[in-house]
Amino acid sequence: MATPKRSKGARPRRQSLLARWRGWQHHHGQSAAESLAKVLGQPLGSLLTWLVMGIALALPTGLWLMLDNLAAVSRNLDSPAQLTVFLDAAMDAGGATELARSVGGRDDVFSSQFLDRDQALASFVADAAMADLAAGLDENPLPHQLIVTPRSEDPEAVARLSAELAALAEVESVLVDTAWLQRLERLMRLGRRAVQILGALLLLAVVLVLGNTIRLAIEGRRDEIVIIKLVGGTDAFVRRPLLYTGLWFGLGGGIVAALLVTAGTLLLSPLVRDLAATYGSNFTLRGLGVIDSLQLVLLGAVLGLAGAWLAVARHLRAIEPR
């Protein structure tokens, strides 16, 4: 047992700023490495946390993707206002072509296209719900039609054009194609509301899962925290490994979420392709790109850090040495 040196070094020397900076850096590195080692050291427990976080992150992401895909579908549907002009049943193709040309010459009409009754049936069939009705028909019940695109999208102008066309002797009736969009709109609103509710619940879940995990991590380290505070550890010093723990959990959760979403997309996409094919569409499910995945991982990390910060702010003060 050596005796202490008889130097004046017995007082705690103030460290130089550079040395302190190096020490600070080193403690950051060490906190990061140690908390990572701890996280990886109990692989099953950490995997659980990652999975919980990953699932909580994957669900809103998956729903967001779903909405995104739906929006892409509805964008296809969202064509400009069109008038379908049903011609008199007695009119033949030649007269109809003539009429199409004269309507197309109007100032307020952008284009006017003659649609043969057989063509019309075919496009009717392309409208999903009617396909089978039409398939059962022996004879085409439709008259010739003109597809008229007005120059202006303004509802009033469209209505005026519609009235003037309907007044023509050769025209049986005019169909303005807008109400159908309203209906889709209503359906989409329902979907959005449902997704909003789910999304809100799930974002709440992410935050809660994180807060809870870090809170329990803090409780598990209670003794350690007390001791560190007793030997003069600052709040920042105590916080550091906890924040890194949150970061690792968040990062892992983000990675798991990206994997889950990708797996889900892969599972669903053949089904969607089949379904789209029956509508004659070659629509394919849009999955998560590389950039999106990286963003998801980053989001996980940020959420992890934020959750840790919140939990630490809430619970660390309560732990005071006795």
Binding site: M1, A2, T3, P4, Q15, W24, D223, I227
Partner: protein, 225 residues
């Protein structure tokens, strides 16, 4: 260095642990604190390191009135004090080395510096060979000595020790006490709470005796050590 002015401490359960305690410890002095179980020794040490605040009276440490030391200033205050706790208070999940290195890490010492100082401190308490052991695999006395090494590793200006030899055999106790005496010789103010009357009376330093929270016989018998 450490001044108590009519300090009283009443705990929440309205138990008066300290009553009107006044004393003054000069820099580089070594003082023993003794008294029966529950007399208030640990409470007194806790006041110095701001684990508790006094109910009445003033505690002045190193020229600073501790009442003026806010929550955010506590870490810095504690960094200037080395403490041996009655129940060791080691990090059970870290090695002996890491435990002793903790105060240095907190102060932001450099890696090499830490290595050197930890080795020196562990050598002083005779545990250099158990550097990589976990505290759980140490005997009670060995744990106590790790606590002592941690308290002295930063060469603090004040050293508090609460029953530092409670788990040590007489021979080792004497050696550890000698270590404290040596520290007081190189400029450290040392305050040791202890029951081992036989040992501390042999060392002939000033002894403060508490009885039911009151200071009795404010010993002035300066030792010659």
């Amino acid at each position: 260095m450490i001044q108590f002015e009519r300090v009283s401490k009443r705990y929440d359960n309205s138990h008066d642990a300290l009553k009107e305690v006044s004393f003054d410890i000069a820099p580089e002095e070594l003082v023993f604190l003794t008294g029966h179980s529950g007399a208030g020794k640990s409470t007194l040490l806790r006041l110095i390191m701001l684990m508790e605040r006094p109910s009445r009276g003033r505690v002045v440490v190193n020229g600073q009135d501790l009442a003026s030391c806010g929550r955010r200033a506590i870490p810095r205050h504690r960094q200037s004090i080395g403490v041996v706790f009655q129940n060791h208070k080691l990090l059970m999940g870290r090695s002996v080395y890491d435990n002793v290195a903790l105060p240095l890490q907190i102060a932001g010492f450099e890696h090499r510096d830490i290595d050197r100082r930890v080795s020196a401190a562990l050598d002083k308490v005779g545990l250099l060979h158990r550097e990589q052991a976990m505290p759980m695999s140490l005997s009670g006395g060995e744990q106590q000595r790790v606590g002592i090494a941690r308290a002295v590793v930063r060469r603090p200006s004040i050293l508090l020790a609460d029953e530092p030899t409670g788990n040590l055999d007489p021979e080792l106790s004497a050696e550890i006490m000698k270590l404290f005496v040596d520290f007081s010789r190189v400029g450290v103010t040392v305050l040791i709470a202890s029951h081992d009357l036989a040992l501390i009376s042999r060392l002939r330093h000033r002894i403060l005796t508490l009885r039911d929270g009151r200071l009795v016989a404010p010993g002035t018998a300066r030792g010659n050590a």
